[in-house]
Symmetry: C2
Subunit: 341 residues, 2 copies
């Protein structure tokens, strides 16, 4: 019942690629990202089309890294924050790969990795791709105000990252490339609504959902938090992450320095003025594809829990006075040569 | 490669339930729908919340029909047309079931059935739910104009159905209920963009994608179209369905009277003034949950192909001059006691 899914066949992360904007490229994780654009436009006329182009570039590069033609990819799991998920549909149309559109808000990368892991582990597909993206400028005008309005942001507000990432998940390594990391376990999140209705405090809205998933994970197995090099939430930001930590402590689960948040990692707190940190589908996606995958390559990471977090609201649901539900999807990424339960 | 997925363990459709609005309840399929509301509001203050309530009612009823508590459902696959898929997230929050949010536009029910079939067939989950919905009044003001504006609709326009449906898919029958139908095969759709940019002619935009999936299905196996009691597209409508039929005929695949469309079935052409027929996530979902499942129960249907169709655009992508990409997800539903390849 609602159990942790164990991937016995250890689906491998064969490749990953990240594409980011100007601000992300000036942040602390700059060296881990593959492609950036100083204009944030990626040669396109609109920010929305730029976001699609970022997905196209990310998948292209992820395929190139392992010299795999797109025809070998049997399915793609993708989604983004734009209305009707057009970042993914327009960005991926040219590949001709069977397409599963997802909407998990900012948890989409983790949701896609779970579905990728499930379908590859059970032999349904041999190789699949998983993508997600967000763009600060497409998100700001859709969720909040036109950029030109110059809206003031409260301290709890987060900065939607301009970032996209692609992962190729497969049963076997390719001839030329050996993978470093694999998908080991997964636990899908529940929709949790604790009554937060401040659209400028998404972290607080998502924190209970992340905590719920983390608590369910540790209650169902013998792991302790110290077994992991990194337990990282998607985009709770400073505010939400500290709330999540408190909820977990109240429930008796004390997390230490290995508990972090992609939204805290992607921007510099002192110099980049993002208030409560980064957010967006592309935030956890690019931090995982860049920073975390590099950590596995270098042997710094051997076991990581990613808890992708999403706020399941819309501007209209906020206008209509509804509170913001959150979700946290957990995926465990382990070193390929790590042998244990 | 991109092959048909055969569900060897035949995941069963344990239960289904449909919830529709006033117009749908006055249409030709009225007797097959479970719940309707003459006000289209389902006791809610807004049309958006009405759509969420329809999903909640549908899942509740589908569970009640087989006397299964919600705690026995391990995951739910759901999505809708509203921005950020809030029909599903708010509608399903109270169930506490691990949630995979989908966005396949009007193909979402078929996409969800495919993922339900995959996860149950491979033993990842024992019982899952799949939901989808649309509401004419929430869709009209989001995609086109406020209802009060009284916009004139061209002949190719379709009528977004006010409808929601839930399916419970499981490995085994429950003690009290025996299922009639199971998921037999699936083929995920590709994003196909043939350059149609008229948002009032979605059928034409989706027809090539439906045709692509149908052609791939019949080219990969020994079936002929006559083997099926019904081959039904999701919501191509009169215009799109005739285009799809033409494309298939051009490719040498002649489909006869068993080729139909949920958008043609749900409303009466002569008396209900919907122009090119019905559309929306809830259209194919409710027609399948109601009419098609009843057909299996009565033995009228023994083998059905549902090709859920979706238009992967947004109002903004249309304003920005982009064309409309389509997708067609195929799921084969067979009678439980049907023994053959």
């Amino acid at each position: 019942m609602r159990k942790i899914i164990k991937f016995k066949n250890k689906p491998k992360i064969l490749s990953s690629a990240s594409v980011v904007g100007k601000k992300e490229n000036r942040g602390p994780l700059s060296k881990y990202f593959d492609i950036h654009d100083e204009t944030d436009k990626f040669g396109q006329k609109t920010f929305e089309q730029a976001e699609s182009e970022m997905q196209r570039l990310a998948l292209n590069l992820a395929l190139s890294k392992i010299k795999t033609p797109q025809k070998n990819i049997e399915a793609v799991f993708a989604g983004d924050l734009m209305n009707q998920c057009t970042g993914s549909s327009y960005g991926l149309a040219s590949f001709g790969i069977p397409y599963f559109g997802l909407y998990g808000a900012c948890s989409t990368a983790a949701e896609g990795l779970i579905l990728s892991g499930m379908t590859v582990n059970s032999g349904i597909y041999e190789k699949v791709a998983c993508l997600s993206s967000s763009h600060n400028s497409s998100a700001e005008r859709q969720f909040r105000f036109p950029l030109e309005y110059g809206n003031q942001r409260p301290p709890t507000a987060q900065w939607t990252a301009t970032a996209a990432a692609a992962f190729i998940i497969g049963k076997e390594d390719t001839e030329e490339f050996k993978s470093y990391a694999c998908l080991a376990e997964a636990l899908a999140g529940k929709i949790i609504d604790k009554g937060i209705s401040d659209a400028n405090n998404m972290g607080a809205a998502m924190a209970p959902a992340a905590a719920d998933t983390i608590l369910r994970f540790f209650s169902q197995n013998k792991h302790s938090p110290e077994d992991f090099d990194l337990i990282v939430t998607g985009d709770l930001g400073y505010e939400g992450h500290s709330i999540c930590k408190e909820i977990l402590a109240d429930e008796g689960l004390k997390l230490g320095d290995n508990f972090n948040d992609c939204g805290k990692l992607i921007f510099d707190k002192e110099t980049q003025d993002t208030h409560s940190g980064g957010s967006g589908c592309g935030c956890s996606a690019s931090v995982t594809a860049g920073y975390i995958m590099e950590g596995f390559k270098n042997g710094i990471f051997r076991d990581v829990l990613l808890v992708g977090t999403g706020a399941l609201m819309s501007p209209m649901s906020i206008q209509q006075g509804l509170s913001i539900a959150g979700i946290g999807h957990l995926i465990r990424i382990s070193a390929v040569d790590k042998n244990e339960e």
